[in-house]
Symmetry: C2
Subunit: 213 residues, 2 copies
């Protein structure tokens, strides 16, 4: 492992503060107790150097010595492999943590992001698109996640990067009252975000963006 540096935006508008994806990375690093630095790139004028690290012009990315990694999922996988506090050590547990890391992104966020984009854009709740994406999220995802989370504390045996990712994805659904019908999912998000490492990561992100106002 080399020196660890998170690069995120220098500033974002009020609405996404507390939800920018560097939070996932800060949280994992705080859980693992790994030292890291935070650097900034302009939110407004995204330069070629930015796209060289993150081809879609998003944030964050992580550098570990000479290696540069974008995608919060890939970064959490990398950190999970650096620290036993972020991933179980037995083969089935490690495999479970990785599959749930992907599931948080590609099953749950794949359904929740379109839903939250429609909310942000003020979509009419009677529109065909709203019904389509709301049904996708509730009937095909949250309804199935509820019994899974009703019978386990964490997704992969012990707390892992999968829980950081899943609870962070679900936090944004909860923000818009999307978890009202899923008490076990709500309790899981509350359990995850009660961890001191989450509180530290969240406070640090809020302070980072506030400092640029």
């Amino acid at each position: 492992m080399g020196d660890l540096t998170i690069t995120t935006f220098d500033w974002v508008p009020e609405a996404p503060r507390g939800y920018v994806r560097d939070l996932r990375v800060r949280w994992a690093l705080e859980e693992a107790g790994l030292p890291y630095r935070v650097e900034s790139v302009p939110f407004g004028d995204r330069k070629a150097e930015h796209f060289a690290h993150q081809p879609f012009g998003q944030a964050p990315w992580l550098t570990d010595g000479d290696i540069s990694i974008f995608e919060s999922g890939a970064i959490l996988l990398h950190l999970g492999e650096l620290s036993d506090t972020l991933m179980p050590t037995d083969p089935q547990g490690r495999s479970d943590a990785k599959e749930w890391l992907f599931a948080a992104l590609n099953s749950v966020e794949m359904a929740s992001l379109p839903w939250s984009i429609l909310i942000f854009s003020g979509e009419d709740r009677e529109s065909s698109a709203w019904k389509l994406f709301s049904g996708f999220l509730h009937q095909h995802r949250l309804k199935h996640l509820e019994p899974v989370l009703a019978e386990r504390e964490w997704l992969a045996g012990s707390f892992s990067v999968a829980d950081i990712m899943m609870s962070d994805v679900l936090r944004l659904v909860d923000r818009f009252d999307g978890l009202a019908d899923y008490p076990a999912v709500r309790a899981y998000v509350a359990r995850a975000t009660a961890r001191p490492a989450f509180a530290k990561a969240h406070a640090d992100q809020m302070a980072h963006f506030a400092a640029a106002d």
Copy 2:
């Protein structure tokens, strides 16, 4: 490594044939020359045993001996770690393959799936939701992917699981003429799908579902 078995649906309607996600897994296994079996679960009546392997009732999942893995991304990561033909051997190359595996799912498919769901559902091309998701796919994703793919043959130095995932995600965009303005992206999809392992995987999936008609 134990015995490898893919479980997929016994049957699906005509429209998704050739695009069901077991294709990604078949393709990787064909590239690696690893022996595997294919088993089926009912598409119509999904039982508790199915949800025990895939909590959202989807397909496929892979069993490797005693280990059961769902999520096509997690399965491709697992296979990439089994075979040097599916992932580069140098640290930066392996890291690149993993980040692009996540990017294919969480940056590109995250934008392309809502777009294709709206096409499947016959959404009005003048609706606010269509403009929102079409803009997300084109302006924030494909526009940035084009220069990346214009300057490299494969995403991570050599052909890897990242290319299986990315080209399979992009195939569905191409099916609905979404790649018309991106010649490098189209050429990449053509390059990937010209590989014999893709042809074998595709033909095997088509034959699997046709056998159930």
